[in-house]
Amino acid sequence: MAGTATAGDVTRPRRRVRAPRWSLAIPAWVLLVSFFVIPVLWIVWYSFGEKPNLFQTISTEHLSFGRYAESLDATGPFRRVFVGTLQISILGTLFCLLIGFPFAYWLAVRVQQRWRGLLLALVIVPFWTNFLVRTIGWRILLGPQGPLSTLMQNMGLRESPLAILDTRSAVQLGVVYNYLPLMILPLFVALDRLDPALREASKDLGAGRWRTFRQVTLPLAMPGVIAGTLLVFIPLTGDYITAQVLGGAKGNMAGRMVADQFLVAQNWARGSAMAMLLILMILLTLGIGALIGLGICALVRRARRVDLSDVETVPA
C-alpha cells in the first residue's frame, strides 16, 4: 500500500510504491522493545512477587506490594539509602552546575575564537578515558599514603594522614568529577549559540554586567542548563560505581543496593521493587524540579512585568 502522496506524485506518475512512513524506524523499534521494554516489564511483574525460600529467587504466586513496603519501611535501613542517594545526586548536580556554568561561560564567551576548539577538546579528553579508571585515579590521589596526603602533611596542613577516602565526601567529589563534562558540554553549546549582539545591545541600553547576565545571558542559556541538569542528574542517581570505588561502606547508593539483591541476597522480588522505586524517585524528583522551575519562571516574569498603564503616552 502506498504511503500518502507527496507533491511530486502529481508531476511524475511513475512514482513507485512507498513504504510506510515509519518503516525506517522499525529495526530500532524492534531492538528497543524486545530488549528493553519487555525485560523491564518483566521486572515490574517480579516486583510484586516474593522470595519463597532459601533456594529459590522468585515466586510470583502471591502478588503483593510487600516488597515495596519493605524497601520504604522507615524502621528499616533501605529507606535511608534512597534518601542518601538523592542527597548525593542533588548536591552533585548542583555542584556540577556551579562549577560548570562559569567555566562554560568563560569558554563560550570570553576565550578567543581560535582557542575554543582546542580547549573544548581538552574538556572531552577526560571524558574519553575509562570512567572506572578515572575514579581509581582519585583513589590514588586521596589515599592516606597518597600524594595529596603526603603533601598536606609535609606542608603542615595536617598532622595525620588524609582520611577523606571511603567517606561520603569522597563519593560526592567523585560523582561531581565524573559528570562535570556532561554538564559543561550542553552549557557550552547553549552559551555558544547566544548571539553576542544581544549582550551588546543590553550594554548599550545601560544595563550593568551583572544585570546583563541575569536578564539576558542566563534566560537564553536555560535550555542548556536544563539539558545539563538532566544529563547529570539521571545517570548520577543510578550510578554506584563511583560510590563503590571511593566510598567504602559509606555512600551506599541505591543502585548498589539493587545490585546486591540480585548478586548476593538472591531476592529478585525485593531487587525489582527497589529498581522500580529508584525509577520513580528519579521521575518524581524531575517532576518536582520542573514544577519549581516553572514556578520560579512565573514569579520572575511577574516581577519583571512592566506595567504600561502608568506611562504617559506621547501624543503621536
Binding site: R80, V81, G143, A249, M257, D260, F262, V264
Partner: protein, 400 residues
C-alpha cells in the same frame, strides 16, 4: 551556481557543498578507525589462544591427549599463582580464563540465575555451601579415578561432613579468620572478639573493616558471646541483627574481603581478615615496618573454612577440569601455590616442605591442634536467609 571539485554542479550554498564532498574523507576515516580497532582486537585474541596438545614437561605423569582448548574458572581473586596457570597451559594445553566473585553468595546467585548458561567449568565454593549447590543441581559428581593425585591429600581433609566421600569436591585449602591491626593507632592488645568489638567502637571507630561475607560478619557477634556460629535460635539471630545493624554498622568503614594490604597502606586501623590475606599484608611491609602491624587468630572461637575445587554440571571442558585438579594436587605445585596465597593446602608433608623452603610467617599458615580446636565449621541452614539479610541491612546502615 557553485563549482564542485568533481564537476558536479550543485544548487547549494558553498558550505553545504563542501560538506557533501567530505563524505569520501569520512567514509575512509571511519573504515580506517573501525578496521584498526578490529585489528587490535584480533591481535589481542591471538595472544590468548595457546597451542593445544603440546608435549608435557615436569614430573606430572602422562598427559591426557583429549583435553579441550579452554578451561573457564569462576574463582576468588588472587587465589592461585598466575604462573601456575601459565605452567598448566604450557604442559597440558588448555588456555585458562578466570572470572572473579567476592563471596559464595554472589557465586551461587550468579550460577543459579544463569540456569546452566554461565559457561564456567570450575568453581571454588567454601565447603558449607556445597550442600546448597548440590540441591540446586549445580555441581557434577566427581570421578575420583580421574584424579590420581587425590591420594596426596591428608585424609583428615577429605570426606567432610558437607560432602561425604568427596562426591562433588576436592579440598583446595583451608584457613581461618582473625584480626589485624595497626599498633600505632591501637595501643592495646586484641585477644578476643570482644576486644575487637570494643576497639572497633572506640579507637578504630570509622577505620574498621569487616569481611564482605554474611556469615563472617554475623560471626563477630556469635563468637564474642559464646553462641554457636550455626545457631538457628530465633532469639540469638535477632540479637545478632540488633547488634550488627544498630551497634556495629555505624563504625564500619568498609566491607572488604582483602584488607590485608589496604590496612598496611593506612586505609584501616583494624580489620577482620582471613589468615592468608593478613599474611600477604605483613609480607608487603616486612622489610619496612615489620612490627607495626599485628595479627591475631580469632578467640575464643573462630571459623574453619575449607575451599574446594568443584566441577560444574554444565561444564563443557570436563577433561581439562580434571587435568587441572590433578595438576594442582601435585606436591611441588601445591607448595608453589601455598607460597602465593598463604593457606594450608592440606597436602601430605606440605608443612615440612614449607619450613624447608623457609617461607615467612608460617605461624599464620599452619595452626596447632589447640588452635584448630577453637575453630568451628559453619553451615548453611535455615538461618541463612536472615544471615544474608543482616549483612544486607548492615551495609545499608553503614552507608547512611
Amino acid at each position: 551556481m557553485t563549482e564542485h571539485e568533481e564537476g558536479l554542479r550543485v544548487l547549494a550554498p558553498r558550505s553545504t557543498a563542501q560538506r557533501i564532498s567530505r563524505r569520501y574523507f569520512l567514509q575512509g576515516s571511519a573504515v580506517a578507525l573501525f578496521s584498526s580497532s578490529v585489528l587490535l582486537a584480533a591481535c589481542g585474541s591471538d595472544d590468548t589462544t595457546g597451542g593445544g596438545g603440546e608435549s608435557p614437561s615436569g614430573g606430572t605423569g602422562g598427559v591426557p591427549t583429549d583435553l579441550e582448548d579452554q578451561l573457564n574458572f569462576y574463582h576468588w581473586a588472587e587465589y592461585d599463582d598466575p604462573k601456575l596457570f601459565k605452567q598448566f597451559t604450557n604442559d597440558y594445553g588448555p588456555t585458562t580464563k578466570i572470572d572473579i566473585y567476592a563471596s559464595n553468595e554472589e557465586m551461587i546467585a550468579k550460577l543459579s540465575a544463569a540456569q546452566g548458561t554461565s559457561g564456567y567449568d570450575i568453581v571454588v565454593p567454601t565447603g558449607v555451601y556445597i550442600p546448597q549447590m548440590v540441591q540446586l543441581d549445580l555441581l557434577a559428581e566427581l570421578d575420583l579415578s580421574k584424579i590420581p593425585n587425590f591420594s596426596n591429600l591428608e585424609t583428615q581433609y577429605t570426606n567432610q561432613p558437607w560432602d561425604p566421600n568427596n562426591a562433588h569436591s576436592v579440598c583446595k585449602d583451608w584457613g581461618s579468620t582473625g584480626y589485624i591491626w595497626d599498633t600505632t593507632i591501637i595501643k592495646r592488645d586484641i585477644a578476643t572478639w570482644s576486644d575487637f568489638i570494643d576497639v572497633a567502637k572506640n579507637e578504630a571507630s570509622g577505620s574498621t573493616s569487616v569481611l564482605d561475607a554474611p556469615a563472617d560478619l554475623c560471626g563477630i557477634y556469635f563468637w564474642a558471646n559464646g553462641i554457636p556460629w550455626t545457631t538457628t535460635n530465633q532469639a540469638d539471630l535477632d540479637a545478632c541483627e540488633q547488634f550488627t545493624v544498630n551497634d556495629l554498622a555505624p563504625h564500619i568503614k568498609a566491607y572488604d574481603s582483602y584488607p590485608g594490604i589496604a590496612l598496611t597502606q593506612g586505609n584501616y586501623a583494624l580489620s577482620q581478615v582471613w589468615n592468608g590475606d593478613a599474611r600477604q599484608g605483613l609480607i608487603a611491609v616486612q622489610d619496612k615496618d615489620p612490627n607495626r602491624y599485628k595479627w591475631g587468630l580469632g578467640a575464643p572461637k573462630t571459623e574453619l573454612w575449607m575451599d574446594n575445587w568443584c566441577i560444574l554440571k554444565e561444564a563443557q571442558d570436563v577433561n581439562a577440569a580434571y587435568a587441572w585438579i590433578n595438576f594442582i594436587l601435585t606436591p611441588e605445585i601445591s607448595l608453589k601455590d601455598l607460597e602465593f596465597h598463604g593457606y594450608n593446602t592440606g597436602i601430605k608433608d606440605v608443612k615440612e616442605q614449607a619450613e624447608a623452603a623457609d617461607l615467612p610467617y608460617l605461624d599464620i599458615v599452619f595452626f596447632d591442634d589447640a588452635q584448630v580446636a577453637t575453630m568451628e565449621a559453619g553451615a548453611v541452614n535455615s538461618a541463612q536467609q536472615q544471615i544474608v539479610d543482616i549483612w544486607d541491612k548492615s551495609k545499608a546502615a553503614s552507608g547512611a
